[in-house]
Symmetry: C2
Subunit: 376 residues, 2 copies
Amino acid sequence: MSTRSGLPFFQELCRASDSGARRGRLLLAHGSVETPCFMPVGTQASVKALSPDDLLSCGAQIILGNTYHLYLRPGHELIGELGGLHKFMGWNGPILTDSGGFQIYSLAQMCRIQEEGAEFRSHIDGSLHRLTPELVVEIQEALGSDIMMPLDVCIPYGASYDEAVNALERTTRWAIRCKNAQKRRELALFAIIQGGMFPELRRRSAQELLALGMDGYAIGGLSVGEPKDVMLQILGEVRPVIPRCYPVYLMGVGTPEDLVDAVDLGVDMFDCVMPTRNARNGKIFTSFGHIVIKNAQYAGDNRPIDEECQCYTCRNFSRAYLRHLFMANELLVYRLLSIHNIYYYQSLMKSMRDAIEADEFQSFKGKFYEKRSVKQ
Amino acid sequence: MSTRSGLPFFQELCRASDSGARRGRLLLAHGSVETPCFMPVGTQASVKALSPDDLLSCGAQIILGNTYHLYLRPGHELIGELGGLHKFMGWNGPILTDSGGFQIYSLAQMCRIQEEGAEFRSHIDGSLHRLTPELVVEIQEALGSDIMMPLDVCIPYGASYDEAVNALERTTRWAIRCKNAQKRRELALFAIIQGGMFPELRRRSAQELLALGMDGYAIGGLSVGEPKDVMLQILGEVRPVIPRCYPVYLMGVGTPEDLVDAVDLGVDMFDCVMPTRNARNGKIFTSFGHIVIKNAQYAGDNRPIDEECQCYTCRNFSRAYLRHLFMANELLVYRLLSIHNIYYYQSLMKSMRDAIEADEFQSFKGKFYEKRSVKQ
């Protein structure tokens, strides 16, 4: 168990005997979170197409907000003045906010990263901004995030050893600056492990950040284009370096298979845009594989997406209706498919939590893979 | 009271002493409807951005579907095979479907109207189609509409007397053909009064259609660009021709003010895309006038849209949040604003029903107009 200011923060409840998988619980300012958990992504203070009620009905316990986006629009001062991000968006459960490091790397124009911070032009209007480690903490404290992330330096897949060294060293220095900048001690602050695709640098990054005694440890810079076996290899190298008392968060991952494999290696927390983005593109996750809803084969299919699924969409609507809405560009379909996909992800996490408690994780994993390859 | 096959269909419950306004009740295959009522428009088997649950929570009792759109996509045979429109879209309350006459006039390309029917090219893919009075009934019977509308001939505002005569005469002949084509006697079939902006022709159209003994009478071809006083004048001329035992439906109308004025003249049923379309454009209806949500004045406004409104949106979200969502093009905002606007329309109808029951309609109307002009 880890504590913060003398209070319990993360508890490991039990471990699988045949896997690195474990059950845990985060105790956050806005409630507790059962782990392993998946955090739907609410980039601009909204998990796209879903209301807070929808998220609760899907079983979401904690959601993610994006510091970079909220800083640019509508602005963290405004959200702070209006009572914080929870009140602003009507979500009373826990919120983790990322730091903007990844968005600066992937979205911002003409980004210049120096020791002081990252200078970039807004993807919205081209205006010039600078994010520093201190400002990133100030933003997240204004938002009132239950878990804050420090500014980090992301590198592309294929970056050289020297680039990876420089990025990890600066990431450590920035983590220290973030920790020193923190004023609201009731909010948790994680660190982000970098080091590219070099196991040695990953271990070094983890050790440097562990020395800082952060509240939890995230693994960044994975799922950036590398083959999946490379991702799992890096994860397998770095995960054991992090003591069991800390929650471990694999950022930006991933497919259902990725989640199962990473939980197997001992990851506790995930976020990814995949369930919501795929939903808006008509790609649906099910226990027996994917459905592309626009396919003609569903035009007259009166079955729900998944007959075993208990989500609002599967309880009320047929594949034929959903396909019709999708072909007709009806707004309702984005919500209905997002509900299903988020429900699927949350149910998958719940199944993994149950399997760990029953100490049947490998058996669960085998059945999961077997079923996912069935075509319907 | 009017009956259909010996069963009560429409009951006038009470009348205002100082107005033509009246309280009534429609008894339809999928339930009863308190009138005056407003029917949200579900063009393509979906009231845009709203789920059936949303509609119920807004107080909607009956919705409208579009024969033309559903015929083209996904096709009425398909919907019929899948169990009808109610089952297809998950709405178990009453549905009225229009006939497609207005859409052929406003949407279809290269439309050619002959005595047999209307030949037109699809607005979706340009394919050639022909709607006849008989096909329009067949389509609506496949959909299973509680209230069907016959194919009619719409003319533009400014049409000549001769054009108006020809359109109304053909509309009457087509109404007869629709009546003769009807097989499912448990579904109601209305008639549509035409006659352009000529009071004499409006009265003639009504009399010809009344002679057919239809289940209810709609007034078509209004709100097509004429000044509001012309619309009310025509309505004032034609409404008294229709006996009290029939429900009267003013098609495609309108603003909140239009609804109040038309109820005052004795109209029972309305439909309009305005509340949902305006919502998607960020224009919100309230008891004190309109709000354009993107206006900068709402950026930091922590109040709900309307502090007296009990809709889901007003109970949970601030103007500042809704403005943020709108500026960020977040899908959620279309649903939240649509919920508010439909709730507003339904509440307005409820207030009118209450005012009629209390025999205070003119007093209600005075207060309504006074309050609507207040700026906030």
